[in-house]
């Protein structure tokens, strides 16, 4: 790890001002929350910031509040706290499960929801200092001709990472919004709009500008009659990122779908919302045939590479299973 200076900040405002100033002075800085993800990038010398702006010393950014409109979760709340929160368990369908199946207990105890949503890709070419890949300012995405068993089948190009967060797809399926605080003040946007496809900008995974911080996640109460389903495929029951994950929320009445959210993880550079498939499902009776069709539509347009064809079938099966479990 390269030497760096750590700055403990006391407020979001201080952090924002400092980040802006360092940016203007052309000094490299990274926000750090739990540090569980950033630290590894620094050890591998993929990230070599001169400054770390430590958010953990900001009081009052760690909370889970239940209000009439829904839940508000502070960016510094740990994954374990979300997993174990009684209200979250009872009311937010699968969010506790998604948080609880991420990484490992130690990482969840330290890792925050803000850091989880903002984590950098776990692509092995990106993570290795030996590969000057596209996302690090190099010329090519090494996954294209390399070992791409875990890479994107949807939304890829020119970079083929998959977004690593387990909580983000689950939160998008739940209709979450996030609050961003920056030099221009606060704004609240749907989480879905936070992520950036590589064809828009292949050097970043989200829209955060220098000086901006994710400060809160807001999740509405699921509508009455909603059922959720979450499953994460992995080789081992701890540590592994999702090979493919599915988060679905289906609101139905008498077996007929009123509204549906279908979001896939592990298949695309962003949490992948299957909007066409959702639209198809609305108003239909949820049975095996429909579920199969929804799977087909969701994976329509998938462009697998040599080692990741299997993800298509896996994702289709998961969607079918999810929908049949939702009515």
């Amino acid at each position: 790890m390269k030497s760096f200076a750590n700055i403990d900040v006391k407020s979001v405002r201080e952090a924002v001002t400092l980040l802006q100033k360092l940016h203007q002075e052309k000094k490299s800085a990274e926000i750090v929350s739990g540090g569980t993800e950033l630290l590894q990038l620094m050890k591998d010398r993929v990230a070599t910031p001169q400054y770390l702006i430590n958010l953990k010393t900001i009081p009052g950014l760690n909370y889970i509040k239940e209000e009439r409109s829904g839940f508000r979760i502070g960016a510094l709340t740990t994954l374990t706290e979300i997993e174990e929160h009684k209200g979250v368990r009872e009311k937010l369908l699968f969010l506790s499960q998604a948080a609880g199946e991420a990484a490992s207990p130690q990482l969840r105890n330290a890792g925050t929801i803000g850091g989880n949503i903002c984590q950098r890709p776990f692509c092995w070419y990106f993570r290795s200092a030996n590969f000057p890949c596209l996302r690090k300012g190099g010329g090519i995405c090494y996954a294209v001709a390399g070992d791409n068993r875990y890479h994107a089948i949807l939304g890829g190009g020119p970079s083929y990472i998959v977004h690593p967060s387990d909580t983000a797809p689950a939160l998008i399926a739940l209709g979450a919004r996030i609050k961003i605080t920056g030099p221009a003040g606060e704004k609240t946007i749907p989480l879905e709009k936070f992520f950036v496809l590589p064809q828009v900008d292949y050097k970043r995974e989200n829209i955060l500008q220098p000086g901006e911080i994710l400060t809160e996640v807001q999740i509405p109460h699921p509508k009455p009659g909603s059922k959720g389903f979450y499953h994460k495929v992995r080789e081992r029951q701890a540590w592994d990122h999702a090979i493919v994950s599915v988060s679905t929320v289906v609101q139905s009445k008498g077996g007929i779908c009123q509204d549906a959210h279908v979001v896939l993880g592990g298949v695309a550079p962003i949490p992948w919302r299957a909007a066409k498939a959702e639209a198809f499902l609305r108003g239909k009776k949820v049975d095996e045939g429909t579920a199969r069709q929804v799977g087909e539509i969701a994976l329509d347009g998938a462009r697998p590479m040599k080692d990741n064809v299997y993800k298509i079938g896996m994702a289709k099966s998961l969607i079918q299973r999810a929908l049949l479990a939702s009515v």
Binding site: F122, W124, D147, R149, V233, E235, R236, Y310, M314, R321
Partner: protein, 768 residues
């Protein structure tokens, strides 16, 4: 097993006496008892000192710069910036290092590199951080040389040639033959052929590889993380041309070895030379990422098996060809040609047999023994193949194995075995497992399956071993053994053996080990599951010598003629005559001896010449497979192993449980993933290299003792460290097949491979 005749030659005792042949462990007082592992409390409370913990005054920290090229010549090397960094005390490169020959290829640092991860430079600095900053300041310019990564590519004409003899190690395959395979295949009713592949498995020890070294006028002292103290010492003495009495290796506890810490590696040499250059102690431990090339690994293999069987299931011909990948150098290359091992040659009766093993040089890191080297790769393939054959002839896999049971060791002049409890293992494990009954799966998209495998591991050839047993003035005994504690519990077992022979309580017997300069040459290194079987008999002999001397002293004190000491015996620390008329405690004799300690020494008698020694076992597993997404859960495992006498059932169980899990890892999730364009490992970290976690292990992982008494040595033990891994993979693969009708012949059997295979089956491009 009753009525085993133990040859007199292995029961040689002191001064022409004969040791008693031990009966069933039930009749013994210390051997066969579950004594908790010595050092266990120190380990769990964190007070055990490992090499990594050693801090010496004025100690420097070292870091190694390793190659990021698979094959290159170093065109330019600039260390000026690194040397100028404050706190840097030495930088070694091929340009300024003294010529110490390390491998058959030459010096410890050279101007060429043959694999990613090969050391290029080493730095010693005041802190670890400075050392790592310094290696990043070294500028290396490489001229690339042609490289080849995959063994099949390396065997093609036109591939860059990495050795004078060509890319096949020694220029030709290792061949074994008996009978006539072609003739056998003609006689067969069914001929079947299949190909399997196994992946690179890493040792992934919890304690990193490394050492602390001090080279001063007194010589070289190494605080090491090693599987033995003597082999590393011998190698360092010879490579640095030092007298053996000037090299001392200290290693009490080891945080895992699994075959990777047997010998002096680059890091030992570099740390020593840095210490010599700076005149200060040097600590050199790898980073976790560097561990993967430095620890070396199990080879990946491509294996083809072909067999001829009669309709009734009799095996008449067997052909096995294996290609293993080794590194560019000769060091470790032999391990690439071991997948056609004892399993194929010995496990089943087969008159016509041929094996052909190729170890192939590639620009990849070197090989090291990896728990169960050779036989593991062998049985992962063979035991799936045997199941496939059984199905072809329509016989239950267990029956098929029993039908072709070999009573004698075919590749070794048909010698009888010193013991063979494989049949007992089959029966007792099948019974405990409930072989034949499949439980219902927990969901409609899931399937349950059961599978089994045999296992074999080569027993030990005769080796010399020496140990000591001291009776201290207070009457406690201390075994003295030149071993390191690999974690398997040899030191605990030795105290049990000594206690048994001495007639003392286990608690009164301690042990000193882990320092090459204060212990005898008990073993060079703990590898090959040998320590108990090689050193255990020496410990018993030493205890017998101490006992003999104790009895002589007691006889003097009790007024018994020296010729009549045979009438004395020791029980629970009390020496008495047969009629109990005269008795004296060991403590009393020892006290009277005072400073004239009773020191027993003993050595291991050779193995009987006409016996073959092999370890056998059977493993049964039940799995549940999610057929839609390919997730596999191992629900239960039952393993019975004939490793001779179980000296300590507690330790035997934990060896078996741990070994099974390591085999399960190799079967389901462990795999080195390497970019074959440039030889860079993509998953060189514990996150992406898939060792099983505690959530993945089966709830039931049962270990069974067939109670075999082996005839090859005075403690009746054959060895257990490695065998439990050997059959695990095939048993799991067979169970997956039983559940899904899908044969995945490439390990590890990950969800993607299962889903892909299921898809190929449903689209008709695959059968079974």
């Amino acid at each position: 097993m009753a009525n085993v005749k133990i040859p007199d030659s292995v029961l040689v005792g002191p001064e022409g006496t004969k040791l008693k042949a031990w009966g069933s462990s039930k009749e013994l007082s210390a051997v066969g008892k579950p004594r908790p592992k010595i050092g266990a409390q120190e380990k769990v409370t964190g007070s055990a000192i490992y090499a990594y913990d050693v801090q010496l005054p004025r100690m420097l920290y070292a870091a190694v710069l390793s190659s990021d090229r698979a094959h290159a010549r170093i065109a330019a090397l600039d260390t000026r910036k690194a040397e100028a960094l404050p706190g840097v005390r030495a930088v070694l490169t091929y340009k300024n290092i003294e010529p110490v020959k390390w491998e058959q290829e030459g010096n410890i640092l050279r101007d060429t590199v043959g694999y990613v991860g090969e050391p290029v430079a080493a730095v010693a600095a005041e802190t670890e951080e400075i050392a790592y900053d310094a290696i990043h300041l070294i500028a290396v310019k490489y001229d690339p040389l042609p490289s080849v990564i995959e063994p099949l590519d390396a065997m093609k004409p036109g591939a860059p040639q990495l050795q004078k003899a060509g890319n096949v190690w020694q220029g030709k395959p290792v061949i074994y033959k008996r009978g006539d395979v072609e003739k056998g295949l003609k006689e067969a009713d069914i001929v079947y052929e299949q190909t399997y592949t196994t992946s690179v498995q890493h040792h992934t020890t919890m304690e990193l590889h490394g050492c602390v070294v001090q080279w001063d006028r007194d010589g070289l002292t190494v605080w090491d993380s090693a599987q033995g103290v003597n082999q590393v010492r011998d190698q360092l003495a010879s490579r640095f041309n030092l007298p053996v009495n000037k090299v001392r290796v200290i290693c009490k506890y080891v945080g895992g070895g699994f075959g990777s810490k047997n010998s002096a590696k680059h890091y030992h040499g570099l740390a020593a030379l840095l210490s010599k250059r700076t005149g200060r102690p040097v600590k050199l431990f790898n980073t976790r990422e560097d561990e993967f090339p430095v620890s070396r690994h199990r080879p990946k293999t491509i294996q083809t098996l072909k067999a001829g069987v009669k309709k009734d299931g009799t095996l008449v011909a067997l052909y096995h060809k294996a290609i293993g990948q080794c590194g560019p150098y000769l060091d470790g290359a032999a391990l690439g040609a071991r997948a056609t091992g004892d399993g194929t040659k010995s496990l089943y009766l087969c008159p016509n047999l041929m094996t052909e093993a190729y170890s192939v040089h590639t620009n990849t890191p070197l090989l090291a023994p990896t728990r169960g080297p050779g036989d593991t790769e062998n049985l992962f393939a063979l035991e799936q193949f045997i199941d496939e054959l059984a199905e072809k002839v329509g016989i239950n896999p267990l029956e098929f194995r029993k039908k072709n049971y070999a009573e004698v060791d075919q590749p070794h002049d048909n010698h009888h075995y010193s013991s063979k409890g494989l049949d007992r293992c089959y029966d007792m494990a099948a019974k405990a497992f409930g072989w034949g009954q499949k439980a219902k799966a927990s969901a409609p998209h899931k399937k349950r399956g059961i599978g089994m495998s045999s296992l074999i591991w080569h027993g030990n050839r005769t080796e010399k071993s020496q140990a000591g047993v001291i009776i201290q003035p207070d009457g406690t005994a201390e075994v003295v053994a030149g071993i390191a504690s690999l974690g398997v519990g040899a030191e605990t077992i030795f105290t049990q053996i000594a206690a048994e022979e001495l007639g003392m309580k286990m608690e009164s017997v301690g042990i000193r080990w882990g320092d090459s300069s204060s212990t005898p040459y008990t073993i060079n290194t703990s590898s090959g599951s040998r320590t108990t079987a090689i050193a255990g008999p020496a410990v018993r002999a030493a205890a017998a010598d101490a006992r003999h001397k104790l009895l002589k002293a007691a006889a003097r004190l009790l007024g018994i003629k020296p010729t009549e000491i045979a009438t004395l015996s020791i029980k629970d620390g009390v020496i008495s005559t047969g009629d109990q008329s005269k008795k004296i405690s060991v403590a009393e004799v020892a006290r009277k001896q005072g400073r004239e300690l009773i020191i027993g020494t003993g050595h291991r008698p050779p193995n009987p010449e006409d016996m073959a020694i092999e370890i056998f076992g059977a493993q049964f597993v039940e799995v549940e497979v999610d057929e839609q997404i390919g997730e596999v859960k191992v629900l239960r495992a039952v393993t019975a192993i004939d490793c001779g006498r179980w000296i300590n059932p507690l330790l035997a169980e934990s060896q078996i449980q741990g070994g099974f899990i390591q085999g399960m890892g190799m079967a389901l999730s462990e795999e080195r993933i390497m970019d074959s364009r440039n030889g860079i490992q993509l998953n060189a970290n514990l996150h992406e290299y898939g060792m099983p976690t505690s959530l993945d292990v089966p709830d039931t992982n049962l270990a069974l003792d067939p109670e075999v008494i082996d005839a090859s040595n005075n403690i009746n033990a054959k060895g257990l460290g490695e065998p439990p891994l050997v059959g695990a993979g095939a048993a799991i693969a067979n169970a997956i097949y039983n559940a899904t009708d899908i044969r995945v012949r490439d390990y590890p059997i990950t969800p993607n491979r299962i889903v892909q295979a299921l898809k190929e089956r449903s689209s008709g491009t695959r059968q079974g």
